[in-house]
């Protein structure tokens, strides 16, 4: 193939290098995750303390809802006074806090960028070792999917402060990569004739990108639900462990962020579906044949379509719409793992021999 000039030993050394880079990236991202968590905890505490201080120092009428030190806030306006005192009132909406020093988060972001670079290098070397686009089996999906999720996180962070997502995005990517390395790992190699097509690059590439984006959206929706529950005085969320939620933007802000990501993810998913149909027409002689993977891709599409509709239906927006995101993402994960491993369809490209 294109890189046929590589000798077998060279290929093998690239493959080994790729593996090492993945482990390095995982290590770095794990440390980043811890730093993110430290930051979140501190942020939650400081905001909680600020909220308490505000309550004591100001008139009771100013604080429209009881934003207590425990963070058992109620009502949507509660977090405004609790966020307001530090220097930049305009920023609080997005969760940026210019006031207290956030040393941990700086370290976390640098480490995330480093982990992201290492993972990128791992993917490139994997591609060189295999002599093709490095997303043709489940192991490579997990790597590239994690890479996209990190990219989306870093990219969105350029436009608005979403560093609060860091802990969860890095957690998920490390989990995915560990799963890939331990369960889905296969040797770097060429692919069977059915996969030798530029549609592999387009269809699968876009599918992984969509999955990466939907991952970040999923994280955001989960946080939205938690935050909403805590703000509405949920007993479960009142626990000390969830104090970090006080440091997050309001639930409706999280909802908007999640929607933006999901909208992009949905459009890409639609493209994945169409590109897949075109490829199926070329490779299998039919554009749609209800293969298990096609069924589940369809289900995912329908669930996210339902989410977009729910969002604009009275009585279904907010929390209920967020549940659709959870269901949709569960379907995405099942489509990736369950369908590849359980069902015997035309998309069984895990590369694993059972």
């Amino acid at each position: 193939m294109t890189l046929a000039a590589l000798t077998t030993t060279q290929t093998a050394s690239y493959a080994t290098l790729s593996s090492h880079l993945v482990w390095a990236s995982m290590t770095v991202l794990t440390v980043a995750m811890i730093a993110f968590l430290v930051d979140l905890t501190k942020l939650g505490e400081s905001r909680g303390v600020v909220a308490a201080a505000v309550r004591e120092s100001r008139d009771a009428e100013l604080v429209t809802a009881g934003a207590g030190g425990s963070g058992a806030t109620a009502g949507t306006t509660a977090s405004v006074p609790s966020d307001a005192p530090p220097s930049a009132p305009g920023d609080v909406e997005d969760g940026t806090q210019a006031g207290p020093r956030r040393k941990a988060v700086g370290i976390a972001m640098s480490l995330t960028v480093l982990g992201w670079l290492l993972l990128g290098a791992a993917i490139v070397t994997r591609g060189i070792a295999a002599g093709r686009a490095p997303w043709a089996n489940m192991y490579e999906f997990t790597l590239v999917g994690s890479f996209v999720a990190l990219t989306v996180f870093l990219l969105v962070n350029r436009f608005r402060d979403v560093r609060f997502l860091g802990a969860f995005v890095t957690l998920l990517t490390v989990l995915f990569m560990a799963l890939g390395q331990e369960v889905f790992f296969v040797q770097a190699d060429g692919v069977q004739p059915a996969l030798q097509s530029y549609w592999l690059v387009i269809h699968v590439g876009v599918a992984i990108t969509a999955t990466g984006i939907l991952t970040v959206a999923f994280v955001t929706s989960v946080l939205q639900l938690f935050k909403d529950s805590r703000d509405n005085g949920s007993g479960l969320m009142a626990h000390r462990g969830f104090r970090f939620l006080d440091g997050l933007p309001k639930a409706d802000k999280l909802e908007v962020l999640s929607f933006r990501l999901n909208a992009v993810g949905f459009v890409l998913w639609t493209f994945t579906l169409i590109a897949g149909a075109i490829w199926a027409e070329h490779a299998w002689g039919r554009y749609w044949g209800w293969d298990p993977k096609e069924v589940w891709t369809f289900i995912v599409w329908i669930v996210y379509a339902a989410y977009l509709h729910a969002r604009t239906t009275r009585g279904w927006s907010g929390r209920r719409a967020a549940y659709f995101v959870l269901v949709g993402y569960a379907c995405v994960l099942f489509n990736f793992t369950g369908v590849n491993l359980i069902f015997n369809g035309k998309h069984s490209y895990s590369g694993l021999t059972s």
């Binding site: 306006t77 405004v80 006074p81 307001a84 009132p89 305009g90 909406e93 436009f159 608005r160 190699d189 060429g190 069977q192 004739p193 059915a194 030798q196 097509s197 549609w199 802000k253 908007v256 909208a263 992009v264 949905f266 459009v267 639609t270 493209f271 169409i274 149909a277 075109i278 490829w279 027409e281 070329h282 490779a283 299998w284 002689g285 039919r286 554009y287 749609w288 044949g289 209800w290 293969d291 298990p292 069924v295 589940w296 369809f298 289900i299 329908i302 669930v303 379509a305 339902a306 977009l308 509709h309 729910a310 604009t312 239906t313 009275r314 009585g315 279904w316 379907c331 369908v339 069902f343």
Partner: protein, 590 residues
């Protein structure tokens, strides 16, 4: 419950402007029909006091009520979820159109449950009554929802941007500036900027005017394409469904197995299997013929022997012109013949054998298709020899072809897919093949009910091993078998679907519409231009107030307002934008 006509508005994706602040001025006029009011079919009736006596609906009223329910967003949502759930069994249970033999196996393993599931259509979910009902209802709901919206949008497209509100200081995005330009220059510059460069598709729809105080105003609105995209998306889905249906009715698909050196003609009788849509006519088949000249395959050179390439070299002949063309068919690269596509779907070995009966007559000679059983092409096949000389028993030879047999071990499977050391390993049956009853028979299976297996003296079955070129005697003097050569065969799939182009067009149209409806910002921008100071004294300044309103949360709104102001003043330095959260600061300090 009310039957008032006036209250009904098509419901759907919210397209109305929502301000961030309860106190923000009402966006007057021009708000497209959205889901914000009166969309609930015959539902709760909003804030109206409930009528003490329900008016009788009558059958028309009920029909209208049902129609409104069906076209309401809530029912559409329920139908969407039902569709998702209904699709699940299609992936869990074996499906007839995909794998009929798996369905049979399932029915054998689970006789009771299988029968019930079969009755309910669970083995062909996507053609079942319930699945069809859900998606047809969904599409009716879609049409019933989207058509009124399309009409509303059509009217809205011709409407004018809303008037400039009296107070601009309460909007979520604001900016002010002063300039030396005259109000007319300012207005012209702002209009030019807001319309954008593309003449036929202006960014903003702009209207200029003069208010009661004689101040010049600019009102602009953008994002009509949002609803346009939404409508295009939904109509394309309908188009997609129709084209898929048309394709189903007109398509045909034929499967044929061709051995190297042989061919087939594009006629219904020449196919091993042939299926077509309801409106297909056999006379429409293009009468070409095709010959398989050669087939090549490539595998990796290690023990896994993974496939790397399959290529079929074919010659196509057009009977009208007599012209022949040579082509290749590969996986992912079907061959297009007069609008029909020919796919390479499978391949294997078809050893050519010659069987002579006890009288020395040639009873059979030709290729026999052996079906690969594993990735190393250990292939199974049956050689049926019915045409023996009169008075002799018919013969059936069952067994395996090993492309690469491991040394002399005939019991282990092939170790490589290429024919490096081919070997036929056969057991011999004699008796009645059961072909004379006229019933269709599986060519890959030997019906042994009327046959006996040849055995050695120790009772073990006779096993013949034959290499290419070899002739081996059949047991009990039944004759001989010669392994002449080992050609390859290919399984070709020929398919014709005239609606393919339309399916693609509507799919891409839907994608395009979807992207438009999700990513087009919906914004309004207003400018008010006031002359400050005395023009006669030469101290005149032009003061511009600008404000913006967006649909939902829109982080680009402030930038839009700033850009409009900058264009109006012609100078970016003098403008002072306030942050988007003006309303929030106010709320906090209230």
């Amino acid at each position: 419950m009310t039957t008032e006509r006036a209250g009904y508005r098509p419901e759907g994706i919210d397209d109305a402007f929502v301000s961030h602040d309860d106190d923000a001025p009402e966006a007057t006029g021009g708000a497209p029909a959205g889901g914000t009011d009166g969309g609930e079919g015959g539902g709760a009736g909003g804030g109206r006091p409930a009528a003490p006596v329900l008016p009788t609906l009558g059958w028309r009223g009920w029909l209208r009520w049902m129609w409104r329910q069906l076209t309401s967003m809530r029912v559409a949502l329920v139908l969407l979820m039902l569709l998702a759930v209904a699709a699940v069994p299609g992936s869990i249970l074996p499906q007839r159109p995909v794998d009929p033999s798996a369905v049979l196996t399932y029915l054998q393993d689970n006789p009771t449950a299988g029968k019930i599931l079969d009755k309910l259509g669970f083995f062909d979910v996507f053609s079942s009554v319930w699945f069809s009902a859900i998606y047809l209802l969904l599409f009716v709901s879609l049409v019933g929802c989207i058509l009124p919206r399309a009409v509303a949008h059509g009217k809205n497209l011709r409407s004018r941007p809303p008037r400039v509100p009296r107070k601009l200081d309460r909007f979520p995005a604001r900016a002010d500036g002063t300039t030396e330009r005259t109000p007319d220059e300012v207005v012209d510059a702002a209009v030019r900027h807001l319309r954008g460069r593309v003449r036929w598709l202006p960014t903003f729809r702009v209207e200029t005017g003069t208010d009661a105080q004689g101040r010049r105003t600019v009102a602009a609105e953008r994002g009509y394409l949002r609803e346009s995209g939404n409508i295009v998306f939904h109509l394309c889905l309908v188009g997609l469904l129709v084209s898929v249906g048309v394709g189903q009715a007109l398509h045909y698909r034929g499967q044929v197995i061709v051995t190297e050196g042989r061919g087939f003609a594009n006629a219904v009788v020449d196919y091993d299997t042939f299926e077509s849509g309801r409106l297909f006519r056999a006379s429409t088949l293009d009468p070409f013929s095709m010959t398989l000249d050669r087939f090549t395959s490539e595998f990796t050179n290690d023990a896994t022997a993974e496939p790397r390439d399959f290529t079929a070299f074919v010659t196509t002949r057009d009977p009208d012109t007599g012209k022949t063309t040579s082509d290749t068919i590969r996986v992912n690269h079907p061959l297009d013949v007069d609008g029909s596509k020919v796919y390479l779907q499978g391949n294997g070995y078809a050893p050519v054998v010659t069987v002579k009966d006890a009288k020395g007559q040639v009873a059979y000679s030709g290729p026999v298709v052996f079906v690969p059983q594993d990735s190393k092409y250990t292939s199974r096949g049956v050689i049926k020899v019915p045409d023996v000389s009169k008075g002799l028993e018919q013969l059936g030879l069952v067994g395996f072809l090993l492309p690469t047999a491991a040394s002399d071990d005939t019991t282990s499977p092939s170790i490589y897919p290429q024919p490096l050391n081919p070997l036929l390993v056969l057991n011999v049956w004699h008796g009645d093949l059961g072909l004379d009853q006229g019933l269709p028979q599986n060519v890959y299976r030997l019906d042994t009910s009327g046959m006996k297996e040849s055995v050695k003296t120790d009772g073990q079955p006779v096993t013949l091993t034959i290499q290419p070129g070899e002739t081996v005697k059949l047991p009990d003097g039944m004759g001989t078998i010669t392994f002449d050569s080992l050609p390859r065969y290919v399984a070709l799939d020929l398919r014709y679907d005239p609606a393919l182009t339309w399916v693609l067009v509507f799919a891409l149209g839907a994608l395009f519409g979807l992207a438009l409806s999700l990513f087009t910002p919906r914004r309004r921008v207003w400018l008010r231009v006031t002359t400050d100071g005395d023009p006669a004294a030469g101290s005149a300044r032009t003061v511009i107030e600008a404000a913006g309103l967006a649909r939902g949360d829109d982080s680009g709104l402030q930038r839009e307002v700033d850009a409009a102001l900058a264009a109006a003043t012609g100078d970016t330095d003098r403008t002072t934008g306030t942050t988007a959260s003006a309303a929030n600061t106010r709320k906090a300090t209230r």
